[in-house]
């Protein structure tokens, strides 16, 4: 790389440059101000409101009789076994969904890339279909698919003598059934983003790998995945946070049952707010969800924005 050597600047020139720089900086600040204000109002203010509200005990519509309880709502969360099981369900759901989504999504993207481009594009468009359906509609579709009386899932399972499978009605299988639905809905997103990531990997690298005698797995492990790392980190970030906040799918499929076996943090918070009318506690649950997300995905967020030279 050619390094450009700048000529030493005189005092007058430096003063004038610095004056221009100050003006530029001021202009830049003015230009950024509306966007910064919008972000502050839209993002920071609601967060601040939720944080403050989480330290009060109050009901919807009766805010004037709110009682300040400081951290009691947070203590209540950790003392409630249903809340803890909702937290564990959420973590389990996120791990299972993320693992299956990444495995299937990245696998299918690599497979589609190896096909004839025309066939690959057609299949990619077909596979992308579920992405166009809203989660609540997905849950309604799958609620009927999982119905033991007239659902497609049980019809297929009956071919293998597996019609006794618990599905949504059994506490041991209900969460995994929802994971399958989530994977069906989310994999197209992984395929689309990974496919875009694959297009920027230089073909020469694959040729070089082939010349070096690398097989399919070797090329995948040594060429494709290392060059997709940034894309995969962003995908894990988006899908992981999505899965952790899951609400619509569970609400539509099981409502958190049977016996709370599929209750997630979002479902739990919703129930506290709109069924038990404990708005302050619901806000505390929302804040705990946010903190958990920051702990789990914060390092990835930092990593995804870091360029090669950053320390």
């Amino acid at each position: 790389m050619t390094r450009i050597q700048l000529a030493p600047r005189g005092r007058a020139q430096r003063r004038s440059t610095s004056s221009y720089a100050r003006k530029d900086l001021r202009l830049a600040l003015y230009l950024v101000l509306p966007a910064a204000a919008a972000i502050f109002i839209v993002m920071i203010v609601p967060l601040g409101f939720a944080l403050i509200a989480s330290t009060f005990e109050y009901s919807l519509g009766q805010e004037e009789s709110a009682v300040f309880v400081f951290l009691d709502n947070y203590a209540k969360f950790f003392a409630d076994p249903v809340a803890i099981s909702s937290l564990l369900n959420t973590a389990l759901f996120t791990v299972m969904s993320l693992f299956l989504c990444m495995l299937i999504g990245v696998g299918m993207s690599v497979l589609l890339k190896s096909l004839n481009p025309r066939t690959g594009n057609i299949l990619r468009a077909i596979f992308a279909m579920p992405l166009l359906i809203s989660p609540i509609i997905v849950s309604l579709i799958w609620r009927y698919m999982y119905d033991p009386t007239y659902g497609l899932v049980y019809y297929v399972l009956s071919w293998f003598g597996l019609e006794e499978w618990g599905g949504l009605t059994d506490t041991t299988t209900a969460l995994f059934s929802i994971v399958i639905t989530d994977v069906w809905h989310a994999v197209p997103f992984i395929i689309l983003v990974t496919s875009a990531g694959l297009t920027v990997i230089p073909e020469e690298l694959y040729e070089a790998a082939r010349i070096d005698g690398a097989g399919t797995i070797g090329t995948l492990v040594n060429v494709t995945l290392p060059l997709l790392v940034k894309t995969l980190i962003v995908l894990i970030l988006i899908r992981g946070t999505d899965a952790f906040r899951v609400f619509d799918l569970i609400y539509g499929l099981t409502g958190g049952g049977p016996a709370n076996s599929t209750s997630s943090l979002s479902i739990y918070a919703y129930k506290q707010a709109y069924e038990n009318n404990e708005m302050g506690y619901a806000m505390a649950v929302a804040m705990i969800t946010l903190i958990a997300l920051v702990i789990l995905f914060g390092p990835l967020m930092r990593n995804s924005a870091r360029s090669k030279g950053d320390s």
Binding site: L60, G61, Q62, E64, V82, R143, Y146, D147, P148, T149, Y150, G151, Y154, G167, L168, T169, D170, T171, T254, G255, G256, G257, P258, A259, N260, K271, Y274, E275, N276, N277
Partner: protein, 426 residues
Amino acid sequence: MRKSRGSVAIGLAALMALTGLTACASEAEEPAAESPQSDITLTVSRWAGPQADAQQELLDQYSAETGVTIRFDAIDYGQLKQKQTLNMSTATGEYDLIYVPEAWVGEYTEADYLTDLSDFVTDEALTGPDWDFADFNESGVEVYTRDGALYALPYFVQTPLVVFDEEALDAAGLEAPSTWDETLEVAKYFKEQGSGIALPFRQGSAIVNIMAVLLAGNDTDFFDESGALDLTNPDVVEAVEFIQELSQYGLEGSNAWHWDEVNKALQFGQAPIGILTSGLFTALENPDESNVAGKLAYAPLPYSETPAGLLQTWGWAVPADSKHQEEAFKLGAWLTSKAAQKEMGTIDPSFISFRESLYTDADLTANAPWLPTVQEALAKGVTVPLQPNAPALTDALSVGLSGVVSSGEDPATMLQGIQDTLASQF
């Protein structure tokens, strides 16, 4: 051609002249009725849910009859309570008549938001001569009564009933089930035949609603006579054991069903018997939508002692800050009059009034054959718990009952657990 055009023009002119003369003649014969005038504007707050359109029609009719201007504020259920509370707590006087379910009345009356209507209902000048307060179902009136004062006019009720295919039962040589044992026998028979009873036993409100009715049918309650939580009472345990036994004869998947899935199973004839809420009966009896229209019969939920029904209700209340309390009550009385209620039932057969005389009205039962059964069930109408802490109890029960039917959890242990956790709150 020109001649024929001319004939058409003359013909049209003659027709117009004739029509004009006829109109003049009828105007001359019948002087135009004076349309009533009023300066009053009433604002009505209602849920924009089922029957809101039919409601609008009736309100328009009232406006035309009285000259009162009505602003109809029909909003989403999720916002309704918040908006009503906000207006009444700040005494804006915005609303004159509000639509309230039984669950909100306790909270509203404790906050002094509502007008005591006890004197209004006996004032014939306000109700009109034919209003007949005694015609209202007693349980419905009781739901809206606090310390002897009536705070809303009972308007609309929903209750779950047993729905069964009469032909299927006849073919099997089975009688219409009434008691717990009879219902278990019928459900078991159909389960052995490959179907079973369709049950809304998903974790949620429906299973708790059913439990409330079963408790009443077993002459017991969630609470003892002093108002303390009494879930370990043997009669309560017995009712939950019945729920567990019945679930064994449920159609496959019933443990994850809500009302809509039960409705589909009955509608398509997959389930010859099921428990369904009355709001969905219309679709069952519609030949365009149902395979079993005209073949169905209805019964109160199974009982061991007395038939009982659930009161999921809406009523009309007058906010204490209304600036036109008497006019608002007049509108409420008109809406709950026999004629207006019959009209609502005619427009939408799933509308069930609290008026006893309408349960056997031939015009209504022709399209709503379940009405006499509703009357039988509501003779002992009960609600789910309505205390301020009730959501915690109903939530715990919905989870517990879900465990009982889906994981085979022991009913007594489940009830004991909830009793231990929540007894101090009631």
